[in-house]
Symmetry: C2
Subunit: 217 residues, 2 copies
Amino acid sequence: MSPGTHAPDAEFSPSEENYLKVVYGLREWDPQKVTTGRLAAKLAVSPASASAMVAKLVSRGFMVHPPYGSVGLTESGRSAALKVIRRHRLIETFLVDQLDYTWDEVHDEAEILEHTVSERFIDRIDALLGHPEGDPHGDPIPTADGDSRLPNATRLDHAPAETAVVVRISDADPDVLRTCAAKGIVPGAALHTRGHGLTDDDAAAVWVRPTTLLDEG
Amino acid sequence: MSPGTHAPDAEFSPSEENYLKVVYGLREWDPQKVTTGRLAAKLAVSPASASAMVAKLVSRGFMVHPPYGSVGLTESGRSAALKVIRRHRLIETFLVDQLDYTWDEVHDEAEILEHTVSERFIDRIDALLGHPEGDPHGDPIPTADGDSRLPNATRLDHAPAETAVVVRISDADPDVLRTCAAKGIVPGAALHTRGHGLTDDDAAAVWVRPTTLLDEG
DNA sequence: GGCAAGATTTAGGCATGGCTAAAAAAACTG
DNA sequence: CAGTTTTTTTAGCCATGCCTAAATCTTGCC
């Protein structure tokens, strides 16, 4: 972005924040090795660009990257990523709760605002919403002090049979969001791991976690 | 800014929007010629940078710049500037009304968000606030279709004696904002043009408009 | 009219964050 | 273990938006 467009108290450029967020996300959602190539694909940049940015964040102490190994986050990198994710999820919750966005509309807006709002803004939103624990997609909102509140999510098509689970859907693809919604599969819904009526493709985009982890709080 | 940080539906970069906004603002607040040098001072950039950006916006049909004359806006430039100002003032109003910002805290945040929120966001905020006509600084909020709702503001120290006026204070300087607030001079307050108890310096930063123009609506 | 002051442009750079194409290095695989 | 494939880096380049320093041009005043 143009310098001066992101939050005044920002420690990272929007680009840097996206790399941190995506590394965190890939390690959460996906057991495969996080290569710079996969980062590049996820961020829609060239491998060379991803490689350069990872090198920069490694040199500043936020990432680790063993030669030909998986890109990872240091403690400070993880904490920075969680801050971005917290902003993203609070903003999404705010858009749905206060501004009547539908939950498939929030992603693009949050993707931008997560880099441009101040700490104060986020704190006020958090208070206004009553310190919510989850966002409209069923994802937990990290706390201000860096607790991830992370559940053990698994893909619906990989979950053990006949388990009671709670739905969580990646917010990246509005089409999947709508297909699922049409079948009553919405974030937070209870579900059994068989007989949900989704195609294999769609089921692969739906993630679930055991009901016991977050849903009695 | 980094590309990709501003609103997805944006026609202008944040920088470009700031130039448009400042040209509009200088022509509104200040009778002097708008030179690239004064633009540069206002935007805290070098004259060379301002000159280059003005040339770019002239070439794209949003500004006019007669040689050694005053920089001005074309119809489309004016309309673009009003959109930015509308976003700025709605965001400020939102921050004060909904997020409990004090009116001297809103400027920096609005200065960034005005370039990063979508049309949808602004429309929803506008509705949430009940389509307000003025912002917390006493400035009118342009309508979505480009009506400026502009009052005839004058500097307090230049206003005719003993006139009933309504206060309007530039949001650029928090110190002035606080000095004035301490004396009961806040945006929208009624005031007479004598006996207000401000120093000449502070009075020069306070602008007023006749009570009849906007305040019975 | 001449000249200083102000306004503007030119020239040459810098940083960020992208790009392509090609080289190099490591890791699988038969 | 040798070859193929994948991963990563290098080299050279582009655009934006900013910088300084040095012209150059116009205006306005005496």
